[in-house]
Amino acid sequence: MTHADKHPGRARGLKPSDFIATAVLLGITIAIPFIAYEQSRGALPDGNLAGTFSFYTAFLVTVGVFALLTLALNIQWGYAGVINFGVLAFFMLGAYVTAVITKGDPQGDFTDYIGGWGDDLNLIPALATNQWLPFVVATAAAAIAAGLLAFLVAFPTLRLREDYLAIATIGIAEVMRRVVIEERWMVNGSRGLTGVPQPLGNIVDQSDYKYLNVVIIGIVVILIFFALERAVRSPWGRVLLGLRDDEEATAASGKNVFAFKTQSFVLGAAIMGVGGSMYAYAFSALSPDAFTHLFATFIFWAMLMVGGSGNNKGAIAGAYVVWGLWTLSLQMQGYELGDLVQSRMPYLRGLLLGVAIVGVLLIRPLGLLPQERRVSAWVERRVKKERSAPAPPAEP
């Protein structure tokens, strides 16, 4: 009896899906530097290697930010089965909260925003606390604000059918965008906020900041990844999985469905807030135009579906693959394609994302890295064992 026969649910060895996932990841990792090389040729006459490295680092910074948001969506949808079509709201709230806390007082006639406490947080001048304290405070505040907003949305809707929450999240995303645009006194309206300070920004040159940033974001992603892995392997995570697979059975076994769903929704939203915070640090400028439904909600769904919902590694891989393909398709714009095709390239990329979601749902519902089956695999194993065992002798 081989190992795989003994443990049918946990098949060791390579499966076809592993090959596909590896091939896609490798392909993108090889292709991106080529693009980077092409792109950097115009900017840097001979320093191509440096240009390639710089491009790839900037690419990884974006992937890191998006991986955070995809991980957060995975906690909500992949583990608890809670739909969130308004990632935008929590993402945007996190980014703006971070900006108004870390920035100094408003300067000039055309800027107006609340907050601006960054300079006040230099508590112990000898320690240069303003190098790190405002950023810790702002990221924590972003997480708390997004979590609170999630609680407010979830409270009236999560008890009802699943799709009501989906509709409510679209609504809160719309309200968030509108408030940012209309209430100019709050966060400077459609002019946006620029010059968001960056953590430890003074110790390196501005043009080299991305090399430091990729380390910071990498650490945050790794911390959150391991925390989430820990959480979903705990009894709490098993209840979430149970909720997603069979809500009624979980409720029947005495679990408070509403409480667990709310917890996962709020936790996911808080991580989205952290993601928004990292976005604000990485790009240092915020504008309501940047937070479109496509770029701030839909792309994370594409990443999660492609990567494999219910698998944290899949979420990160999905962010890498989808953003990689997005960046590669940038290259298509460089070719001579005629005005009619070329001017429509950005929308064609949007179309491909939509097709990717529907295609994944139809052809490969589990995504690139399918979720690992745990509880159900164990049950199947037990059932098989009992079936194959000789029937107990009948009572005389």
Binding site: F85, A168, L340, L362
Partner: protein, 448 residues
């Protein structure tokens, strides 16, 4: 005391009249409904009466008084304002914790409260903001058409169709293509003719009828677009949703697939027509005057008439034909429908076809009222779902009422000082949340 508005002196007499008539009317409507409902649906406890009166009578009265004060009302409005700490304290401390209780065993009270408030709100709007009210009715008719399609899909297929708003916009653009036969490049003047033959080539199709800004070409294009959209919807169902159904996917998977399709449709619009908002015809929009100081654009009269005709046709289809009976039976209980010999696949196809026609007509009418805009599709989901949920998901007549409620609320609310017109769709969202808190099954929905 100076009013914050100040520059509307001729309105303040109407404010006084409105308050003098409105408050007693309010109390009367509320009392009548309350009485009749309490009569056959016994209240469990006096705490329910107290909660209902606080939530449905005092809080709205206070909001009304505050609004009246904003519009320059004086004495009566201020009288209402003086009781505000009492009202809000009671509502928050006492009323909100008991909503659940009220909802679970006596939600006819909530029904009465909601209806009374809608009646009085519309009455107040008719006095103070009758321009916004008329626009609200026009918009409500459009939303109602879309919401009826949405609620039909929900009733028969049991999932929330998130591509509804974007397919409305796509079909409006399809009608535009049929009318002009062109797609448009990014730069000005880079128009490309796509269709060799188009509707405007018909003799006299472009010359305006009556006071409308368009000729009969638009009506032809609208009907053609309805047929095409019905076909598109049935095609999408075959290609996507039927496969998911065969796999017995969760309803949530359907919702995500429809979200994906929504973005596909939006990208298709952007690819063919670019991001610039467009109009059907450059013609002049004539305004016509009706009795009671009401004036409307001629095109809006067309919208109302078209919506009325379509609603009548759908009503006959749903309630007077065998097909409609089968559809309603399936919405009621799919399993029972199947075992009583209804061909469910055929009914699903017809549901998509009917919804497709409604989508196209609502889309064209919306584009006629506002403009053709690829951005509008996704946010349009809010009023559509709000209307469907207010009426009770799965109930076509409810969706019709819900459409008007949402349309009117949306238009009237943004005339208030503190809400800029940009918040239009946020108001629809507020209506949605309110109904989900006090009566999640909607006004006419089945108790689950």
């Amino acid at each position: 005391m100076a009013s914050p508005v100040g520059d509307l002196p001729q309105l303040s007499i109407w404010v006084e009249v409105g308050l003098l008539v409105g408050v007693p009317l309010y109390a009367a409507v509320f009392a009548a409904l309350f009485q009749s409902l309490v009569g056959y649906n016994r209240l469990r406890s006096s705490s329910d009466i107290f909660t209902a009166v606080t939530l449905w009578l005092l809080v709205p009265l206070h909001i009304g008084g505050w609004l009246a004060y904003q519009y320059g009302g004086s004495l009566e409005a201020l009288l209402l304002l003086t009781i505000w700490p009492y009202v809000w304290l009671t509502a928050v401390v006492y009323g909100l914790p008991r909503i659940e209780q009220l909802r679970s065993h006596d939600d006819n009270i909530n029904f009465g409260g909601i209806i009374a408030n809608i009646v009085v709100f519309v009455f107040a709007a008719a006095i103070w903001e009758h321009d916004a009210l008329t626009v609200g009715i026009v918009l409500g008719a459009i939303i109602a058409l879309g919401a009826v399609g949405l609620t039909l899909i929900f009733g028969v297929l049991k999932f929330a169709h998130f591509a509804h708003g974007d397919s409305m916009m796509l079909s409006a653009f399809v009608a535009w293509l049929l009318l002009n036969g062109i797609i448009v490049g990014e730069r000005a003047g880079s128009e490309t003719t796509l269709l060799p033959v188009n509707v405007n080539d018909l003799p006299g199709a472009e010359s305006a009828i009556w006071d409308f800004s368009f000729g009969y070409g638009l009506i032809v294009a609208m009907l053609l677009a309805a047929v095409l959209t019905a076909g598109l919807m049935v095609g999408i169902d075959r290609m996507v949703y039927r496969r998911l159904r065969k796999r017995k996917s969760d309803i949530v998977i359907f919702a995500i697939a429809s979200l994906g399709l929504a973005f596909v449709m939006r990208s298709v619009i952007l690819i063919f027509w670019g991001p610039t908002p467009r109009l059907y015809t450059p013609g002049i929009r004539n305004r016509i005057d009706l009795p009671f100081d009401v004036s409307l654009l001629a095109d809006q009269v067309f919208i109302l008439a078209a919506a009325f005709v379509v609603t009548a046709v759908v009503y006959v289809l749903l309630f007077r034909t065998k097909l409609g009976k089968a559809m309603r039976a399936m919405a009621d209980n799919p399993d029972l429908a199947r075992i009583s010999g209804i061909d469910t696949d055929r009914i699903i196809t017809w549901t998509w076809a009917v919804s497709g026609c409604l989508i196209a007509i609502a889309g064209v009418l919306l584009a006629l009222q506002a403009h053709l805009d690829s951005e509008l599709g996704f946010t349009l989901l809010l009023p559509l779902f709000a209307a469907a949920i207010v009426g009770g998901l799965g109930n076509p007549l409810g969706a019709l009422v819900g459409g008007f409620v949402v349309g009117i609320t949306q238009e009237v609310a943004v005339t208030f000082d503190f809400l800029s017109p940009g918040y239009k769709f946020s108001v629809a969202f507020a209506v949605l949340i309110l109904i989900l808190v006090v009566r999640p099954r909607g006004l006419f929905g089945e108790r689950s």
